[in-house]
């Protein structure tokens, strides 16, 4: 017999607003805002969605309906609520399922991103494991992969040609793993300065059976540049979604981000270009001749990057800027002469 949560057992809400670098670590101790009582009788998935949507709204949780839908769909074994049959959505949930829903939705009350709540997310045709504080791949980055794929496919990445790509700042492994999945002949090297990211990338690689073609290194591209150059051979493609936010913008990030994601994966310094510049500097030594660099950037960066490269990295030629699906300048493509 499961005990019904009484109103007296509502927790006080510990809003963790310390924005300092260590702030996110304290988020583990954030207690939930008023978790609603578990229903006395049976409810359907649709009723659960409705209940939690309302509850998220009452507690100022963003995307209340989507959050509720994704969590409940996940517990029913689906990616989205829309991919479930109407019949299933009106069937009563078991006691265990209901308790699970309550447990997961309660995590969302602390503004934990849905991806961390359900511990997975889609990236193109892959399902990747997600775990705080490793950076959650953004939809824009799916397009970065498309750009690289288009070029590599044109270069004819066939059985004859051995191509390798290198990724700086792999996070959960999204970019590298996606490329490896789409190009069976490709090999990849993924780097990250975060041990958590390295571990998660390894885990995802194993889950997807791609570990044989992927090398993962715990390397800081700024501090360990010499080590990096020593251990790798020239590659055909260099890809990166490096931290590119301006430091001053870090303070206005939504709680989902500043409380749970690694700030080192976001903060690009005063002009957001700290890591980007280092990647550009090292590119000529990492790339083989005519190899290309693909980098995701802040919308204000492209002209700045073009100028800076012309003045400082003569072996690199700025080729083009591509926009993302929302129409913002987002990707820079450069080529080694």
């Amino acid at each position: 017999m499961w005990t019904r949560l009484l109103s007296t057992s509502y927790y006080r809400c510990f809003e963790c607003r310390s924005g300092g670098p260590k702030g996110i670590w304290r988020s583990r101790a954030v207690h939930t805002c008023s978790t609603p009582a578990l229903p006395a009788g049976k409810i359907t998935p649709l009723q659960a969605v409705s209940l939690w949507k309302r509850h998220f709204e009452e507690n100022g949780v963003t995307e209340p309906e989507q959050s509720s839908q994704y969590i409940i769909a996940h517990l029913l074994g689906a990616k989205t609520i829309e991919s479930l049959e109407q019949e299933r959505l009106t069937q009563f949930l078991s006691r265990e399922q209901t308790e699970q829903i309550w447990k997961l939705c309660t995590r969302r009350l602390s503004r934990m991103p849905v991806q961390y709540v359900i511990e997975e997310w889609d990236f193109r045709d892959l399902i990747l494991k997600m775990r705080p504080p490793v950076f959650i791949p953004r939809p824009e980055t799916e397009e970065l992969v498309e750009l690289v794929l288009t070029d590599l496919q044109m270069k004819n990445v066939s059985a004859d040609a051995q191509h390798t790509c290198l990724e700086v700042g792999c996070g959960s492994g999204a970019i590298s793993l996606s490329l490896l999945k789409s190009l069976p002949q490709l090999k990849a090297i993924a780097l990250d300065q975060s041990q958590d990211a390295v571990d998660l990338t390894r885990e995802n690689a194993l889950r997807l059976g791609l570990q044989d073609r992927l090398q993962i290194h715990h390397i800081d591209v700024i501090k360990d540049a010499e080590t990096l150059l020593r251990i790798i051979k020239p590659v055909s493609a260099l890809v990166s979604n490096p931290p590119y936010l301006f430091s001053e913008d870090m303070a206005s990030l939504e709680p989902e981000i500043f409380r749970f994601e690694d700030p080192a994966a976001l903060d690009g310094g005063k002009d957001g270009l700290k890591v980007i510049k280092q990647v550009l500097t090292l590119a000529p030594q990492i790339l083989s001749n005519h190899g290309r660099l693909y980098v995701e950037v802040d919308s204000r960066h492209p002209p700045l990057i073009r100028q800076w490269v012309e003045a400082n990295v003569h072996a690199l030629q700025f080729k083009e800027t591509r926009h993302d699906i929302t129409g913002r300048p987002r990707f820079c493509i450069l080529q080694k002469e």
């Binding site: 990236f123 939809p139 824009e140 699906i325 987002r330």
Partner: protein, 169 residues
């Protein structure tokens, strides 16, 4: 996930081999069915070669991504894609996965099917597939009934044989 249509007697009569190496080939067989109509059978992925090709300029795409800076600065999970075909006004909504990229691709596949129906009506792939499926079901039912009938007659025959002196007609 290929929409593989199991081909039974049609394949045997046409003696074709299906190969799945690389991208699945579209197998089309024109074969007269008992009723005298021609059926077009297609096996393989949903992007059948007969579906209309989409012109990106004729499409309007919409997905919620907010007005802020986007990119790393946001973590929005809404990735439902709404695709509109301007000339016909047909709208497709797709939220099958949690990937914007995949939803966009699927929305386009669905749009191609819808345009096919809009342009070709009864001759569209979707309608033809439905008809073919209905015919196959009817065929199955007919065979099942036939079998039952045969069994019944056999049983009757047995029963008649085992009763000595009874009338056998």
């Amino acid at each position: 996930m290929s929409a593989f249509v199991p081909i039974t007697s049609f394949v045997r009569s046409a003696s074709c081999r299906l190969t799945w190496k690389g991208s699945p080939r579209v197998l089309q067989l024109l074969t007269p069915n008992p009723a005298g109509l021609t059926c077009v059978l297609a096996a393989g992925k949903k992007d059948l070669i007969n579906l209309p090709v989409l012109v990106e300029d004729e499409l309007e795409e919409q997905f919620v991504r907010g007005s802020g800076p986007g990119g790393q600065a946001t973590n929005k999970t809404s990735n439902c894609v709404v695709l509109k075909h301007i000339p016909t006004g047909i709208v497709v909504k797709c939220h099958q996965t949690r990937s914007v990229d995949i939803n966009r691709k699927r929305a386009r596949e669905i749009m191609r099917e819808k345009l096919d129906v809009a342009y070709k009506g009864d001759l569209s792939e979707v309608v033809l597939k439905k008809k073919e499926s209905v015919l196959r079901k009817q065929e199955k039912r007919r065979k099942a009934n036939e079998n039952l009938e045969r069994k019944r007659l056999f049983k009757d025959a047995l029963a008649a044989d085992s009763k000595p002196g009874s009338d056998t007609v």
